[in-house]
C-alpha cells in the first residue's frame, strides 16, 4: 500500500524556517526572536487564493507530506496531501506549520536562550494555543497571503483551527476542525496531567534542566504510552494485538509479555528519541488551558464570522468524543456559519483522523472544491 501511495506523493520536500523578531504572547509578555519550521506543497497561485494551512497534533511536526532527501519517512498526513488527494496540490498550495513551543525546528524550551546561551528549559514562557496561532499568522503574513482558503487539522491541530477562527476570522475562508474540542473536558486534562506527572517524577527531569545530561526518558516514555492508549479504541486494540503473547523467553518477571505491552514500550522508547520532555509539558498545558469559547457561549464568540465549515468526528474516538465536535457544529449552526458535520463510522479511535483516508478524502475534497470555486451546489439532477 505504501508503494502505491508513493505514486501520488508530493515527492522530495524540505523543511523551511521563518524567523521573526518578536511575538506578543497572550500573557502580554513579548517573546523573541522566534523561529517557526514549516513545509509547503504545491504552487501558490497568482492571486494567492489557493493557500491551505494544515496544523498538526501534539507530537506532529512541519513534515506533513512527501519525504525528505535521503530519508524514507512520509509526512504525517501524506495520505491526504498530494496530487489528486484530499488536499490536492495540483490545485492548492498547502502549508504545514510546526508549533511554537515544539521541538521540531521551531522555538521551544529546548532552543537556546539568546540571553544565557543555554536552553530555555523552564525559562521558556507559558504559551497558549492562541500564541501558537499568532506565530503562524506571522508566517502567513510573511508569505504574502491575505486570505487562507482553509485552515485544517485534527486533535490539537483542530484546536489551532478554532483559535484561527476566533482570532483571525477575516483571514480565512473556511475551517476543517477534525476530532477536536472547543475546550478540554476534565477527562482529557486528567490524561495529560498523568503524562506530565510521569515526566516530572523522572529523576532525570531535574526541574527541566536535563539538557546535556541524561534525559527523563522513562517519564516521557510513560507519558507517550498513556497517550497511545487514549489514541486507540478498545476494538482497534483487540484487533491489533488480541491477547497475543510475545515469544521471547522470560528472563525476569514483568517483561512485556503481551503484544500490546511490547507495542507501548516500543512507542514510548521511540518517542524519547524524537521529542523533548519539556515541550511535552508546555504543549499539553497549552491544550488543557485552551478554550475557544473564552468562557462564553461559543456561538457568541463566532458572531459575524463569514466562513464555511466542515466538522468531522469519529464514532470510536473516546479521547475527543463526537459530542465535542457536535458542540462545535452546533455553535456554527447557531452563529449562522454554513457548516457540514459528519461522524465517520470508524473503529480506530482518535487515531482515525490519520487513518480514515477514504472518507476524509471524500468530505474534504468536495468541501474545498465548493469553497474554492465559490459556488454552492455541484453535480447534476438525479444523482
Amino acid at each position: 500500500m505504501e508503494r502505491d501511495e508513493r505514486k501520488n506523493s508530493v515527492g522530495i520536500v524540505q523543511t523551511q524556517y521563518f524567523t521573526f523578531d518578536s511575538l506578543k504572547l497572550e500573557s502580554e509578555e513579548s517573546f523573541g526572536p522566534v523561529v517557526i519550521a514549516y513545509e509547503t506543497y504545491g504552487e501558490l497561485n497568482k492571486d494567492k487564493s489557493n493557500a491551505i494551512l494544515v496544523l498538526h497534533a501534539l507530537s506532529g511536526d512541519a513534515h506533513a507530506a512527501g519525504i525528505h532527501e535521503g530519508g524514507n519517512n512520509p509526512g504525517w498526513w501524506d495520505a491526504l496531501i498530494g496530487p489528486g488527494k484530499a488536499f490536492d496540490i495540483n490545485k492548492y498550495f498547502v502549508i504545514c506549520s510546526n508549533i511554537l513551543g515544539g521541538c521540531k525546528g521551531s522555538t521551544g524550551p529546548s532552543s537556546i536562550n539568546p540571553k544565557t546561551g543555554k536552553p530555555f528549559a523552564l525559562d521558556f514562557p507559558v504559551i497558549g494555543i492562541g500564541d501558537i496561532v499568532s506565530a503562524q499568522k506571522q508566517l502567513i503574513d510573511s508569505l504574502g497571503i491575505e486570505k487562507l482558503l482553509a485552515v485544517a487539522g485534527g486533535s490539537m491541530g483542530g484546536m489551532q483551527v478554532l483559535s484561527w477562527l476566533v482570532k483571525y476570522p477575516e483571514r480565512i475562508r473556511s475551517v476543517i476542525p477534525i476530532a477536536t474540542a472547543i475546550k478540554h473536558s476534565p477527562q482529557q486534562i486528567a490524561f495529560n496531567e498523568v503524562g506530565r506527572q510521569a515526566i516530572m517524577a523522572d529523576a532525570h527531569w531535574n526541574a527541566g534542566n536535563y539538557y546535556g545530561g541524561s534525559l527523563p526518558a522513562k517519564g516521557l516514555a510513560v507519558a507517550r504510552m498513556i497517550g497511545h492508549i487514549t489514541y486507540m479504541s478498545d476494538s482497534s486494540m483487540a484487533e491489533k494485538f488480541g491477547r497475543q503473547k510475545k515469544d521471547s523467553s522470560q528472563q525476569f518477571k514483568f517483561t512485556a509479555d503481551f503484544e500490546v505491552e511490547g507495542y507501548l514500550r516500543y512507542r514510548g522508547d521511540n518517542f524519547v528519541k524524537r521529542f523533548d520532555a519539556n515541550s511535552y509539558l508546555y504543549i499539553t498545558k497549552a491544550m488543557d488551558n485552551f478554550d475557544a469559547s473564552e468562557g462564553r457561549p461559543f456561538q457568541d464568540v463566532l458572531e459575524g464570522a463569514k466562513v464555511k465549515a466542515l466538522v468531522i468526528a469519529f464514532k470510536s474516538d473516546w479521547l475527543y468524543p463526537a459530542y465535542q465536535a457536535k458542540e462545535i457544529a452546533k455553535a456554527f449552526k447557531l452563529s449562522g456559519i454554513e457548516a457540514t458535520y459528519c461522524e465517520i463510522d470508524s473503529t480506530y479511535g482518535h487515531d482515525a483522523f490519520l487513518l480514515e483516508v477514504e472518507e476524509e478524502t471524500h468530505l474534504i475534497a468536495h468541501f474545498l472544491k465548493k469553497v474554492f470555486y465559490g459556488y454552492e451546489v455541484t453535480g447534476n439532477y438525479g444523482k
Binding site: K326, K330, L334, T340, Y341, D345, H366, V377, G379
Partner: protein, 251 residues
C-alpha cells in the same frame, strides 16, 4: 425552467417554496430536494440526515448537512431560524412526532410535511383481501425492514392538525404520476401539507378541540363495547384455551 426528471413530490414542494428563502430539510437523504431547491429557487439550505452514506452524497452535491437524528437535531435552532422546515417522507420515521412538529413550527416560519398515505385504496385492498400489511410505492417496505415508526393517513394528519390547532395553509395530494383531487384519502399515495404555527391562545370561544375529543371518545366507547363483548364470548365458548386449534378453526 423546472427539469422534467424531478420527482413529482419534489416538484410540488418546489412550488410551495419562495425564491431566496432559507430552508431546513429534516431527513434530507441524498440531498436531492435541497439541491433542486437551491438550483431552481436559489434558497439557502441546510439538511439533517442520520445515514452516513447519504451525508457523503450530500457533500458531493456541495450541500451543508448535519449528521444526526431529527429528534435531537432540531431543538438547537433559534425560533424562526428558517423560512421553511421540510419533513418530506421523514415525519413517520421520527420517534416523537409531536415534539418534532412543534419544534419544526417553532424553528421555521412554515413547515412542509410530506407523508405516505396508509389509507390509499391499494393498501386497503391489500389488508382486506390478502390480510397482509400493505406494500405500495409510497410504503415500499416489508414489515420486518421498514424504517417507518408511525403509520398514518391523509385524514389522520388533517385531524391531527385540527386537534393541535395547526393551520393547514395548503394541501397537495399525489399518486405516482399526478395530483389527486377526488377522495384523496382513498386515491392519493402521498399528502403534502404546508402548515404554519399553532393557533395560539385557545380561548373560551374555541371549542373545536374539546368537541373533537368528546366525539372520538364516544366512538371509542361504542367500538370497545361491541368488540369486547363479542370477542370474550367467542374465545371462551368456542375456542377455549387451545389457541392453535382456534386459529385453524377460524381459518
Amino acid at each position: 425552467m423546472v427539469n422534467e426528471n424531478i420527482r413529482l413530490d419534489h416538484k410540488m414542494i418546489l412550488g410551495l417554496v419562495d425564491p431566496r428563502s432559507t430552508v431546513l430539510d429534516l431527513g434530507c437523504g441524498n440531498g436531492e430536494l435541497l439541491y433542486i431547491l437551491i438550483k431552481e429557487k436559489n434558497i439557502r439550505g441546510q439538511g439533517i440526515e442520520i445515514d452516513e452514506q447519504a451525508i457523503y452524497k450530500c457533500v458531493a452535491k456541495g450541500l451543508n448537512v448535519f449528521h444526526g437524528d431529527i429528534d435531537t437535531g432540531l431543538a438547537e435552532y433559534r425560533d424562526k431560524s428558517f423560512d421553511y422546515v421540510i419533513l418530506n417522507q421523514s415525519l413517520q420515521q421520527v420517534q416523537h412526532v409531536d415534539k418534532v412538529l412543534i419544534d419544526a413550527l417553532r424553528a421555521g416560519k412554515k413547515v412542509i410535511v410530506g407523508i405516505p398515505n396508509f389509507a390509499y385504496y391499494v393498501s386497503r385492498l391489500q389488508v382486506f383481501f390478502r390480510g397482509r400489511v400493505p406494500v405500495t410505492p409510497s410504503l415500499p417496505y416489508g414489515w420486518y425492514e421498514t424504517p417507518n415508526l408511525h403509520f398514518l393517513s391523509i385524514s389522520d394528519f388533517i385531524s391531527y392538525c385540527r386537534l393541535k390547532r395547526i393551520k393547514i395553509e395548503k394541501s397537495i395530494y399525489l399518486n405516482e404520476r399526478r395530483d389527486i383531487v377526488f377522495l384523496p384519502n382513498l386515491f392519493a399515495q402521498t399528502g403534502i401539507f404546508l402548515i404554519s404555527s399553532i393557533i395560539k391562545d385557545p380561548g373560551k370561544n374555541d371549542y373545536t378541540g374539546t368537541f373533537d375529543k368528546s366525539a372520538i371518545d364516544t366512538w371509542r366507547e361504542m367500538i370497545y363495547f361491541f368488540t369486547r363483548d363479542y370477542s370474550d364470548l367467542v374465545i371462551d365458548e368456542v375456542v377455549g384455551e387451545n389457541w392453535a386449534q382456534g386459529e385453524k378453526f377460524f381459518a
